[in-house]
């Protein structure tokens, strides 16, 4: 299991999409490709934008299928972060 702590790179408000892309490309995808489970730890991150969460996970869902959510875990999420993750995973499941 690979654990990725977001706060050291995002601060308390996760909004920088370039940072999100880097986490996805450099950390999440290589772990998934090694068949590892991934935990995204949002401890101390009190809020995030939809754009950030989209840049973090939407392309993974698009490329690996929605079943990939069985291998990604979201830990220590605030209410806001949880709801934004839900919005993104909802619309990614309704796409073409």
């Amino acid at each position: 299991m690979k654990t990725i702590k977001l706060f050291p790179v995002t601060g308390s408000f996760a909004e920088n999409k370039d940072v999100a892309r880097d986490i996805r490309v450099k950390e999440i995808i290589p772990s998934i490709d090694k068949n590892e489970e991934v935990t995204l730890d949002f401890k101390y991150v009190d809020s995030a934008t939809q754009s950030f969460i989209h840049a973090l996970i939407s392309d993974i869902i698009r490329n690996y299928g929605i079943e990939i959510l069985d291998k990604i875990f979201f830990k220590n999420c605030s209410d806001t972060v949880k709801k934004i993750i839900n919005i993104v995973t909802d619309y990614m499941q309704e796409r073409d």
Partner: protein, 321 residues
């Protein structure tokens, strides 16, 4: 071009200011101002500063300001932006002045730094800060990603004690919404392009539902929703068109979000002087700030319903003849 700073221009009464903007002779800018008192929304300052940056100081003719409120413009950094010596002296306020002077944001790193520094400047409580930093982040990122403007986003904000409101204005002189949306959709008019940009799941970067790896087409819908839930003004002006979300009745207990912005209580104008780029103004009343998480529930409900409806509308049955 000619722009006149009027006696009053806030989101509720800003239309005459837009209509008076003279966009002819795009290589010169003449700025005049009301001689007695000028009280304007930060979006007005952001517009003037954005024009000034694009035109360059040697092509700006700015009338000497006489209004008693001229110090405000010095404090907000307007003359510095225009490269003009104002001769107005001000006593520097403590950073607790609860305003954000005109700021140019040209890249992602500058934006992140700006958002971190912004919240203490406006003296916001965590609950109040949440929607405001969200709005600033999404609006400025829209400019950086879609406007193709070499000058980036010009932003300013001000707290108004009497109404307990934060007013935010952001302007760019980029390609505008119509050109951006038409990269993937078909919007024959500026207003149709604004309507599409405000619809959840529509982005200029792709026609595909779910967007690209970087864009989902949700940012402006979220921002309009924040304004709607809080019963505040939200305005967007690009090309010749303006869409304004009007304040809704505070008495209504159940707020409905609409995917189609034309279903909200609004006003539009399709014959404004051409603004080469995009302008967004928003008011956030701190008294009425709803819990952000409640807003997210409403957004989730509307967003998913809209995507499902679009998918259903695209579904085609085979024709057996």
């Amino acid at each position: 071009m000619k722009i006149h700073l009027p006696n009053s221009a806030f989101l509720g009464n800003i239309d005459p200011f837009f209509r008076a903007f003279d966009c002819s002779h795009p290589h010169k800018l003449e700025i005049t101002a009301n001689k007695k008192w000028i009280s304007v929304h930060p979006v007005v300052l952001s517009m003037v500063a954005a024009l000034g940056l694009k035109i360059g100081k040697s092509n700006i003719d700015c009338e000497k300001m006489e209004a008693a409120s001229k110090h405000y413009f010095e404090r907000m950094g307007l003359f510095k932006f225009l490269g003009i010596k104002s001769d107005i002296t001000i006593t520097e306020h403590e950073p607790a002045g609860r305003f954000i002077p005109l700021t140019q944001i040209k890249n992602s790193t500058e934006l992140t730094k700006f958002i971190t520094e912004m919240v203490p400047l406006l003296h916001l409580e965590p609950k109040q800060a949440e929607p405001i930093r969200y709005i600033v982040s999404e609006l400025a990122r829209n400019v950086l990603e879609h406007s193709q403007s070499e000058f980036g986003a010009i932003l300013s904000a001000q707290y108004y004690q009497k109404s307990n409101t934060i007013r935010i204005g952001i302007a760019d002189t980029g390609i505008g919404i119509k050109k951006s949306i038409n990269q993937s959709h078909s919007a024959p008019t500026d207003l149709e392009a604004i309507r599409l940009a405000l619809t959840p799941g529509i982005t200029g970067t792709t026609r595909k539902e779910g967007g690209t790896e970087f864009n989902a087409g949700a940012g402006l819908f979220f921002i309009k929703s924040i304004a709607k839930v809080n019963h505040d003004f939200f305005l967007i002006y690009s090309g010749k068109a303006m869409y304004k979300l009007l304040k809704s009745n505070q008495e209504k207990s159940r707020i409905r979000l609409y995917a189609d912005p034309l279903k909200d209580r609004h006003s539009i104008d399709e014959n404004l002087p051409f603004w080469n780029g995009t302008i967004v103004g928003i008011d956030i009343s701190l008294d009425a700030t709803k819990e952000f998480s409640v807003l997210l529930d409403l957004i989730r409900e509307t967003y998913v319903k809209t995507v499902k409806e679009r998918k259903k509308a695209r579904y085609r049955r085979p024709k057996f003849i």
